[in-house]
């Protein structure tokens, strides 16, 4: 199966937050208790009960009082997913056949390392310390449906489809390169930005933290190679030199 993806187009997002609510309804997520804190953005950040949130970004403008940008923020479903790389529990975080980074709460051991390895700071943890984040409605997409957010979006600011088709269509529409097209092996959530990603609070070049890569590529193999090597060296020494026996001195 070809990889699936979401295309998020902030240019046509109207900030209605239908995606935010539809996500919570589909995933049976309870409401968080919130308070107004001087912004329409509530809750102010992703929570274990909020997989997808629309961020409202105010940018100065010369022609209008401001520019008000809306963008959906959630798990990016990286191909090179730092969370999966670092996860110590087999089967806790995994990739579905559609390319979604999904998880099994039963297998999650609650170590929360994924939160640090994620270049986008996405994973949150429920009251049992189990990972909680967007899984691209893996239960819906496996049945051929689109994720709840894409299904509910009135303007088409969130679209779901074949990843390669999304990319080629966007190129036809004049987007030279989508955000996430090549980053991290290619993201499963692509953004059609007309501005610098920085304006939307996104890293220009998101990457899995270097320590995670170094750990994965060097420290991990070194552990068993080192252990084996040390045992082998000891045995070699034993064969080569034999132990000193006190009697031999005599």
């Amino acid at each position: 199966m070809l990889r699936k993806a979401l295309l998020i187009s902030p240019e046509i997002c109207i900030g209605c937050r239908g995606c935010q609510i539809a996500c919570k309804e589909w995933n049976n997520l309870p409401a968080d208790e919130t308070k107004n804190e001087g912004t329409l953005e509530n809750p102010s950040d992703l929570t274990p009960n909020l997989y997808n949130k629309v961020r409202f970004i105010e940018v100065p403008s010369e022609t209008t009082p401001l520019r008000w940008l809306f963008v959906s923020q959630r798990c990016m479903h990286c191909d090179d997913a730092g969370c999966i790389t670092i996860c110590p529990a087999p089967g806790a975080l995994f990739k579905t056949k559609e390319g979604a980074v999904a998880y099994d709460k039963d297998k999650c051991i609650g170590c929360k390392l994924c939160a640090s390895a994620c270049p986008f700071n996405i994973p949150r943890f429920d009251k049992n310390d189990k990972i909680s984040k967007c899984h691209l409605c893996s239960d819906r997409i496996s049945e051929g449906l689109s994720p709840a957010c894409a299904k509910t979006c009135p303007t088409g600011a969130i679209r779901y489809g074949q990843r390669d088709e999304i990319i080629s269509n966007s190129q036809k529409e004049g987007y030279e390169k989508l955000y996430g097209q090549a980053d991290l092996g290619g993201l499963g959530v692509l953004y059609a930005f007309k501005d610098a990603p920085k304006i939307y609070g996104m890293d220009e070049q998101p990457a899995v933290p270097e320590t995670v890569l170094l750990w994965h590529n060097v420290l991990k193999p070194l552990s068993y190679l080192g252990l084996g090597g040390a045992v082998a060296a000891s045995l070699l020494h034993y064969i080569a030199f034999k132990p000193k026996k006190d009697e031999e001195d005599k």
Binding site: W215, S234, D246, D249
Partner: protein, 203 residues
Amino acid sequence: MSNNMIRKASAFEILNHWVLALSFFVLMISGFGFLFHLEGLNSVFGSFNQMKAVHNYIGIVFTVSLLLTVFYYLPVSLKFSGDDITWFLKGGGYFSKKTETPPQDKLNAGQKLYYIFILIAGIAIAATGFIMWLRPPLADIRKWILISHFLHNISFDFMVIAMPFHVYLATLANPGTLRIMVYGTVPIEWAKKRHGKWVKRAE
């Protein structure tokens, strides 16, 4: 104590050694389990969730045990003399049956250095382990966790490499050593050869 034997380790030291060793092995095995998703370990630990709990709590045992060694290993390990340097220059006498090494204290130069490294690595692995486990409320906790994760694994690598040498040197390489961690006593003659300074002082 019989006349030709000398006590090298107290009962407490022996007990603590085996507590440390055992906890180390549990941590190492589960550590490998986490690193390489060794699901076969479920037959031992039940599940990865339980293995994580075991790893965490045995980590406390390991840490306490390690810190207790400070009282009896650290003072002597910090006393370095010219003899220790000579000992190192001669490779501890392990690479030739003919080499004569200078007289050593209760711990020989190699043991001292080994202990210091193990202590440092042990403290590092414990501290980073606790940071990852308990996630102190720091502003940039995600970075702290990453650093901890990295150091934890460096220490882990160091320890799993060091461990076989320790076992080898205490058993096959030096017959008669193991009994220290069983009975606590060694023959005086055996001790004089290896820890001349200490025996002299003890007499």
